[in-house]
Amino acid sequence: MSGVGASQVPIAVVGFRNEQAVPQPLSQIVRADLERSGLFRGVDAPGVLDETAQPAMADWRRRAADALVGGSVTRLADGRYDVRFKLWDVVKGTELGAQSTVVVAADLRLAAHRIADFIHEKLTGQKGVFSTRIAYVTRMGKRYTLNIADADGEGGQIALNSAEPIISPAWSPDGRELAYVSFETQKAVVYVQEVASGKRRAVANFRGSNSAPAWSPDGQTLAVTLSRDGGSQIYLMGRNGDNVRRLTQSIGIDTEPVFSPDGRSIYFVSDRSGGPQVYRIPAAGGAAERITFAGSYNISPTISPDGRTLAYVSRESNAFRLYVQDLTGGTPMSVSDTSDDESPSFAPNSRSIIYASRAQGRDVLLTTSLDGKIKSRLVSSMADVREPVWGPYGR
């Protein structure tokens, strides 16, 4: 983690009663989430504190904490866990909130992330994204997997295991499905897979390559890049691959479509003016308007869910760098100090971007705040990781 926020809230997250006895270190997950956001600074908090306690505020003020968290976890007779916590305002000596939730063992991490979200929103006024998920691709030798993990990079599960490349994963707006491109039949084909059940369907398998799937905000339409009529052009289709109609008409390469959050426009990459640049076209069809002008090679556009910011990757000599641009007007700003950036994706609260890059000879996943000041590196494994996409709220 690097970068210091303007004013971090000093918070003491004390060990939850009985958490040593359960599979997940709940208070540690909460503390790590809050610190990773860059908006909180963890204060030394030894021992255990449960939600029924009457903490001595003077003690915590001496430790320079502004906020205090304690809790407990109890295993129920049916094997589920009762997770409870309380948040105190140390300065005022008041309770700010408390919750209890019952979860199965597999959702203990989720319970901790939801506590961190509650605290984040209560103390900063901003909705947290700790309980959201990410999807990404790993490559180890000749084996590829599509993985789903918590937003902190932990708890990864394999959604697809393949001997051929997987690229361009895309979450459905309800978070229940992933679209992606698989080369399992020796060409690029777009599939949609239900996350919980593993059921999958090929939605685009026309002559040539089928790629770059993107969901409309209502989840009913997919934009894809097809080469069936020659070149690479953008088409729209129903979520099951029906009702295919062509959207772009150019002699160049048109690809990487993404819907605007209001569903009315589609941003995409086109090299119709020479090198690849970001353009915008009405989803109902019409003239395309160029959006990026700085630099000769701009790709991988993504729009923040609040519709305000465009993030993309720009090539400068041999370096590929992440840029953000205010869509209401403003110059593009570089937000990374690495030179192999790819595949940016916004968090659902529009405050962070996850992207892939290279560090120490490995592909890694990084997150950054929009001003580039707060960065973190998600836990990297032995495998190369790439193509991260941030899932929506709600699980």
Binding site: P165, Q186, K187, E256, P276, Y297, I299, S300
Partner: protein, 184 residues
Amino acid sequence: MTSNSTSFRPTQKLLWAALCAVALAGCGSNVKLDDKNVPVESRTVSGADSNTSGAAQSQVTPVDLTKNGGAGVFAGTGKVVYFDFDSYTVRDDARPVIDANAKVLAANKTAKLAVEGHTDERGGREYNLSLGQKRAEAVVRALTLAGATDGQLEPTSFGKERPAVSGSDEAAYAKNRRVELVTR
């Protein structure tokens, strides 16, 4: 005793012979054998009516798909075309590969090739997938101009996902910017 043997075992032979004898013995035939001379019909088994003079009617000519490592009719033709950086123009040095494969395709209407485009590792995955597709389509165009039929070819792309050689220097990049012709 091999299980592949089609001959009967000795005991089975005896049994079968016995059965035949019984069957024949029990055959009270009511058909009189004609004792007139029955002309022996002469039937030409081979030669006169067949298209290939002298060829046996039982002839079978084998087709060995495993010959030449599976290349079949494409045996001996080059299989890779290389490209310059950011380019999908088929260079002059690809001529021998194009012509040799087009000739085979023109002579064998059921033969098919997958035409797979690739790029070097620099740049975005989707944009490179499209660039590889353009390279494949340029090769398909060159092949059809040289005598192949469109339906025998499918242009596809792996973008930068399947490099031929690893490495981040110009030598590796040059070997990865390519189109491969793959028998299907």
